[in-house]
């Protein structure tokens, strides 16, 4: 059910068939808002239930625990974030275009879906050790995608960086931190922020 929640948040796509049924989806959206707003531990199952229009007990028909709700959201969000990077990398021509497009779309995603993005970046530490381990694997692939394109750019003589690992972290920080400060109603749109940050990323790698 990759990006089911994101897709619904988008209000772009007609209802696809698989994944959570209507009520489960409503619960995930309710939980996403609550977790992003107050954090996992400050959110009560009663809060989630009432946001979704259910009684406190109604949650447990669809999710066995509050942690499982977080896990589904976190996994879904990480998979979507990784997919955003991969699609951008595939479609672009050369490291320079690839990095710009990856940062543009990754940043835009963090702003547009800042509730899920906040859960992805700041709440995964509250998962069980087993679930956290699974998510950490996805996080390494996200970091690896950015690391690769910078490495390619250096090898091709298009980028000049002092240290690939440090620059990778810096580029990721730019986009990730958007989930912390972004709020709807900001002057700049998610797309404008993505455009600006793509340029800034090219400066970080001293692209020719």
């Amino acid at each position: 059910m990759l990006s089911t929640v994101s897709a619904v948040t988008d209000q772009r796509s007609a209802q696809p068939e698989p994944g959570p049924t209507g009520t489960a989806l409503r619960l995930m959206l309710a939980a996403a808002e609550a977790f992003a707003d107050k954090g996992f531990h400050a959110t009560t199952t009663r809060d989630i239930a009432s946001r979704a229009g259910l009684s406190p007990a109604g949650v447990y028909v669809h999710f066995a625990s509050k942690e499982l709700l977080l896990y589904q959201l976190s996994k879904d969000g990480h998979e979507t974030a990784l997919s955003v990077l991969q699609v951008a990398a595939e479609q672009a021509d050369g490291p320079r275009e690839a990095l710009a497009e990856m940062v543009r779309r990754f940043t835009t995603w963090h702003a547009e879906h800042f509730t899920v993005a906040r859960i992805v970046q700041y709440e995964f530490q509250h998962l069980t050790p087993e679930h956290r381990a699974e998510i950490v694997t996805l996080r390494k692939r996200i970091e690896g995608a950015v690391h690769s394109v910078i490495e390619d750019g250096v090898a091709a003589g298009e980028f000049e960086v002092a240290d690939v690992a440090t620059t990778t972290l810096a580029v990721l920080s730019l986009a990730i931190d958007v989930a912390r400060w972004f709020a709807p109603g900001k002057r700049r749109t998610p797309e404008a922020i993505g455009d600006a940050y793509a340029d800034l990323a090219l400066r970080l790698v001293a692209a020719h």
Copy 2:
């Protein structure tokens, strides 16, 4: 008691006279570790008490509530962070040196004091509305300090940026996000990260 907690964490300074007494200080250090590790709401007063070697009731002799403990830590941390920026700005000669020195020290602080920095950047939303409002004022001054130096650099013809506000956010994101990913025992020292990020900030503003 500006930076009392940071100073003790440093193990650099001999005991100064004002501020919290020994036990209150131990409680603040215990709370800082716990809040940074698990977040405010996941931390129990029992946890804080036991880390400080006290009974659960012992906390309330020194702090009237758990929130007040967070408030003291947050205020102390924000004042120190602001002071780091101000000292760097005063000592430097010209916008280029000022920006580099501010980012160097601000970043190093976020790594070296990553427990307090994490509370500063990610836990202040759990303060009471009154306390949060006070902290927001400090946060605006922090953002203003970076905004000013970039504006000065542009005015002096030393920097070239598309938008001062966006670049300010990006520079701050670089340093702030260090508090999220830094962990003791990392290959790079706080100082090395600060040095690298000072260079990256100069790239972001296209310093001549």
